[in-house]
Symmetry: C2
Subunit: 511 residues, 2 copies
């Protein structure tokens, strides 16, 4: 059928055309069906979006289709129904409870990257894998396909070391220490990381306080050649791009069934040969118990081995934030202090443990001590400043000159006693409500650690923000909910919260 | 944030706004997040669609938002992030493997109808129910919520009889006989039905050959008052509208986890008190064995009972098409012939069996015989013609004057023998490729039934179409695939098809 085009003034995530329902009926096209759009000898396959009240003489095309076919507004194109992509058959197969072959998985991943699957179809696939799981060979194929459909970092070096954290513990700025420790000892560690998705700061947000992190593959290769390392945002590098598209679908659903391929593909794409996987383990994090940490690690071991990657998982204590600072600027400050003054102790110990594990994987003896020595001698700090400079930041930055939010609110202890409870997710939420990570200076500084003795009137935490309105929102939350609980051994309040029964609404069929 | 509106010239399925990625970042809004759009004291919640290359000063709004808020193109609106609907929490709960309370289910169904959930979220919910199933109390609540969120037919009559088929057998025009049989005996049967989704004809497509089927609730109530019955398309009546939205999501995925609420809600919405559920059982249909038919029926019994609905399930023979005709016009012809001449036998027997079951449910003795008598005396035919007239069709229509496709192709037997195999789904596909159901005169007439003796050169089937190109496509298919197989007992070919091994593509990680 010949239709005039009406260009819709933005790019959609995939090739989509808009058809009026009467036109769709004539074409025998239903919602989510595919159509061929032909213009000037060129063809694209697009997903049909069927609308009410659209023009009967037009097909709506988004900017990306117009670009691909060289269409100007009003040009006449040929539109006809066509069959769905092979990957949709594979998704239907998975929905029937069957496992997929490697070529089927490759087709799904490729079509995800090429924008050939709708969000609806992708959501069904993600949900199916959430319920069905994948076999090791499916996970292997999925990981491999993610790597093959993206960019790679091509460093002419070996071994290539790397670190990844499963996350979930607030204030985890460990990478800002581990990367320079490793690099200062002559090993290569091209660290790519993410921005915060549901937390108050990701490693990329923290590093961005010190230097630009949105660099190109070429720039990264140059920086790593020069400094042995980098600390950059992986999001724009097109490493395993299927992952970013899948995350967009997983985010509203609160599920994450592809975490193994997602993590391993990004590591394989930068060529990592030795990886330490940090599994923060504790109440407020994703992994609650040591048993769970061990179970998850086994899956990583199995798949990493299939790729010949040396992976060591470590469960780390995560019942409270790492160090004191939560939020990009506060955490960048704390990392700089830790590199110079070797405090706070938990942050330094965690960094030395992870770096030490990595060092022993490549044959260094006494990994932990070697890492501590790199901190004590100032080699690690010097290396971080080299990396900052190479990425375009100020190598002489001091912790004090990093700007924080100018509005603050401090919560004080109302009694003498010990800190016996810290609520990780509430702390992260407070940081976000204060404006982090977009407001770089926003965040929470927690003055105390679990088990610490406090006196009535001692500060427990200070919230920073550049917005009075946001700080007021934080104050309202702190009136109801306490992220830090203090009590005496005898008088400790064991009741955390009364859980309300929510009676189901009675439904009566009106007749 | 204040933004100027740019109205996008069509309705989207739900309230959606388009934001450029840089604007979305400032608002701290991610794909699928919700935003409040405020104009002139009115507010709607919309789903954020984050685009590249959209104007940084504008928010794109679809026609339905513009209408709801009274916006003209270029008007300035206030846009801010807001929290997702409660129904999304319920969907996440289901994704965690938990059952939902009745109020949570009501919220999901209401938000589906109100367009507050994205297709992505809906697809995840549908897939979760596909894998997790629902408890009887969940199914009950879902059904009830579907009824409550839609229109009802309000007939001041009791009992109200009804029939529904799980479908899957081609040529099933039984409703065109059952409805007039029941109505001719003084009982009320307001039959709403669907158009073909994946088949060559739905009951609404067949009836539309004889009379208009796209009527309003008021018209239907008048017609039923007058004739005891109707045979109309349910799609535009807004009966259980959640169902239509769910079907749009299920269709590309090839799954159908809501079939029980979907069917029962439509019956409850027209007030049905006595329902016969036809479960066509056989190789080419949805339900393959009698055991499966019994299992599915138990679920229907359980839920119908919770609503006080009297439901009787019947498994019917479905190894071959019902009668000879497949396609709207061919089937309408065959139904008219059956009402007058009581042939073909399988169609008449099936209609009398279903009608008889219904009659006995409301206390009539010898249901089957009573139904046959209504056919033999011509009462049923007279009643169908009354219904046709009441719906605006020609009551004097003869089978012969119903137009068929003027291009035909007939397949002949290449040998003497018996018909030992009929491929239902291939026949349905041929009907569709010939142009059915949109081309009303397109379809397949199958001259033979299973077990029938044929001689070489006897016609096996005739395909009708109004398009030579479509008929040629059918011919090409018939060269490779035979929907009707003929053989002698001795020389019967037991091999149906050689299944090809498809070797998996070898994936090698490029290093």
């Amino acid at each position: 059928m010949k239709l005039k085009t009406r260009i819709l003034p933005f790019e959609s995530a995939h090739y989509t055309v808009v058809l009026d329902q009467s036109v769709a009926k004539k074409l025998d096209v239903r919602p989510s069906d595919r159509v061929l759009v032909r213009f000037n000898g060129k063809t694209v396959v697009a997903i049909a979006n069927i609308a009410k009240e659209f023009s009967h003489e037009h097909v709506g095309v988004y900017v990306n289709i117009a670009k691909a076919l060289g269409i100007s507004d009003g040009d006449e194109v040929e539109v006809e129904a066509t069959s769905p992509p092979a990957s949709l058959q594979a998704i239907r197969k998975k929905l029937q409870g069957l496992s997929l072959e490697s070529d089927e998985i490759y087709q799904v991943v490729k079509d995800i990257v090429d924008g050939k699957l709708s969000e609806l179809e992708l959501a069904a696939f993600v949900t199916a894998v959430h319920f069905q799981g994948m076999t090791p060979s499916e996970i292997y194929s999925f990981t491999l396909s993610m790597v093959e459909t993206g960019q790679r970092l091509r460093l002419k070096r070996k071994p290539i070391l790397d670190k990844h954290s499963l996350g979930g513990v607030p204030g985890d700025k460990t990478s800002l220490l581990v990367v320079p420790i490793i690099a200062s000892l002559g090993f290569t560690i091209p660290k790519t990381s993410s921005r915060a998705i549901t937390s108050a700061a990701g490693t990329a947000d923290r590093m961005e306080v010190l230097a630009p992190v949105n660099l190109s593959i070429d720039e990264i290769e140059r920086i790593v050649e020069k400094t042995n390392a980098c600390l950059v945002w992986g999001g724009a590098l097109n490493l395993a791009p299927a992952d970013d598209i899948i995350i967009r679908v997983e985010y509203p659903l609160g599920i994450d069934p592809f975490y193994i391929p997602s993590i391993l593909a990004k590591k394989l794409a930068v060529g990592s040969t030795h990886v330490v996987l940090d599994v923060p383990t504790g109440r407020g994090t994703k992994v609650k118990t040591l048993e769970e940490a061990k179970r998850i690690s086994q899956s990583f071991f199995e798949i990493a081995r299939m790729f010949g990657m040396n992976l060591q998982a470590v469960a780390t204590y995560a019942e409270e934030p790492i160090g004191h600072a939560i939020g990009p600027a506060l955490e960048a400050r704390e990392a700089l202090i830790a590199l110079r003054e070797l405090r706070p102790g938990d942050l330094v110990d965690k960094a030395a443990s992870l770096a030490g594990t990595l060092l022993e994987m490549v044959g260094v003896e006494n990994g932990y001590e070697t890492a501590m020595e790199a901190l004590r001698t100032g080699k690690a700090e010097k290396k971080l400043r080299e990396i900052i400079e190479a990425q375009g930041g100020d190598p002489d930055v001091t912790p004090e000159e990093i700007p924080l939010g100018d509005k603050t609110y401090t919560l004080y202890s109302e009694e003498d006693g010990f800190v016996y409870y810290i609520d990780n997710s509430l702390l992260a939420n407070i940081g976000k409500i204060a404006g982090a990570p977009i407001d770089k200076g926003a965040g929470v500084y927690i003055h105390v650690k679990l088990g610490e003795k406090v006196r009535k009137g001692d500060p427990l935490l200070t919230v920073y923000s550049s917005s009075s309105a946001k700080l007021q929102a934080v104050e309202r939350i702190l009136e109801d909910s306490k992220p830090v609980l203090v009590g005496r051994t005898a008088g400790r309040r064991m009741l955390l919260e009364r859980i309300q029964y929510q009676p189901p609404r009675q439904l009566v069929l009106e007749r």
